[in-house]
């Protein structure tokens, strides 16, 4: 026991170890920890910013949604207006078409009537001639009596 030259060995060893720690151990660890601290601070700041941005985006989205709803309501209103306009127009068109069809049909009917009347006249004239021929017991010469026939036809 007691102090001896080991002391110097220990002091020397101690100084070497402190030097090593200061040179090779301390700086990288401190640097890594500082960097991580910075990273965490940045991360937290980014998270805050993100949250704020989210709130802003939410507000913006609500605004856009409101606008869109208004626009949609406007479009629906316009569409229903346009729809009723189209219906009105169609009704008008249909009425006009219907009337046109009716008048065309009437004209056709009239034409048919006239034609039937003409045919009937000719038939009646024929029957009348045959009847007259029977009564006279002789044949009426169509050529000789053509003038008479036409006169009869016109009369009927």
């Amino acid at each position: 026991m007691g102090l001896n030259a080991t002391l110097f060995g220990q002091i020397f060893t101690f100084l070497v170890f402190v030097w090593f720690t200061k040179k090779f151990v301390w700086p990288p660890v401190m640097q890594a920890m500082d960097e991580r601290r910075q990273k965490i601070a940045d991360g937290l700041a980014a998270a805050d910013r993100g949250q704020r941005e989210l709130l802003e985006a939410d507000a913006q989205a609500a605004e856009v949604l409101k606008e869109a709803r208004q626009q949609a309501a406007g479009i629906v209103e316009q569409a229903s207006k346009r729809g009723s306009e189209i219906v009105e127009e169609a009704k008008v068109n249909a009425r006009a078409e219907g009337e046109r069809l009716i008048s065309a049909a009437q004209a056709e009917i009239e034409r048919e009537q006239a034609r039937a009347r003409e045919a009937l006249k000719a038939e009646v004239a024929g029957i009348a001639l045959i009847g007259a021929g029977r009564i006279l017991k002789r044949e009426i010469n169509a050529d000789a009596h053509a003038e008479l026939m036409d006169e009869l036809t016109a009369q009927i």
Binding site: T6, I11, K22, F24
Partner: protein, 257 residues
């Protein structure tokens, strides 16, 4: 017990003898020097491996361990020392961890390593450096040198001498000798108390382990484990006290009173 033929006194004396070379003052305790280097190299390689691959990203387990200790020491230094920490913090880390490992060697069964050494022909082996005054005074005298260096760094040569001459009683010429005596005693008391506190604790603990080892084998585990468990508290506590007082002394030296 190393051998049945030894008397208790011989056994204890044998356990308290250093493996040494040299004569008188120029004796080197090989075991203290060797185990200091072993523990120091364990400390440095562990921390160097952790520090070398230190990243700001997700730390590995070793890096985590290193960071926890570095952060703990850095905070202790920041609390106690208000100057630049570039040197004091690594110093404190070295003191803390080195002393911690020294003290831990005390938990290795007292007869194990001496017995292993004796099988290769080495007859004396004291493995706990902090139970050797040379190791503890080696640290504390280095701290004394740093106290003086930091006094001069913090207050300048003039300030340091002024403090030695005129502090604490004042600058009245008759009081100067008393001031000097008091300051020198204070300056010497610091390393002596530092060294003796650590030495005393660990020497006593080692002694008790040696005494326990002399009990009959079947009963040893009761006092042995009780003392080891208690000693687990002493080991980091003494390391922490040594570190904290080093920081406090340097802080007192560095700052103006």
């Amino acid at each position: 017990m190393a051998s049945a033929a030894q008397s208790p006194t011989e056994y204890v004396t044998h356990h308290l003898t250093h493996l040494s070379v040299g004569e008188g003052f120029w004796t080197f305790n090989i075991d203290t020097l060797f185990w200091s280097w072993v523990t120091g190299i364990i400390f440095l390689s562990l921390f160097y491996m952790g520090a070398r691959k230190a990243t700001a990203g997700e730390p590995g387990k070793l890096q985590n361990f290193v960071e926890i200790l570095v952060d703990f020491v850095d905070n202790s230094v920041a609390d106690g020392f208000h100057g630049p920490r570039g040197f004091v913090a690594p110093l404190a880390l070295t003191v803390f961890f080195w002393v911690l490992l020294w003290n831990m060697l005390d938990l290795i069964p007292v007869d194990l390593l001496p017995w292993l050494a004796s099988t290769v022909g080495i007859h004396y082996q004291r493995i706990v450096p902090s139970a050797d005054m040379n190791a503890t005074f080696g640290l504390s005298l280095s701290v004394l040198a740093l106290i003086i260096i930091y006094s001069i760094k913090g207050k300048g040569v003039k300030g340091f001498i002024k403090e030695l001459l005129f502090h604490p009683f004042g600058s009245f010429p008759l009081l100067v000798p008393f001031n000097i005596i008091l300051n020198v005693v204070e300056l010497i008391a610091k390393p002596v108390s530092l060294a003796l506190r650590l030495f005393g604790n660990l020497y006593a603990a080692e002694m008790i382990f040696i005494l326990i080892a002399m009990l009959p084998a079947w009963i040893q585990f009761i006092p042995g484990s009780a003392w080891a468990i208690f000693h687990i508290l002493v080991i980091p506590l003494q390391a922490f006290i040594f570190m904290t007082l080093t920081i406090v002394y340097l802080s007192l030296a560095y700052e103006e009173h």
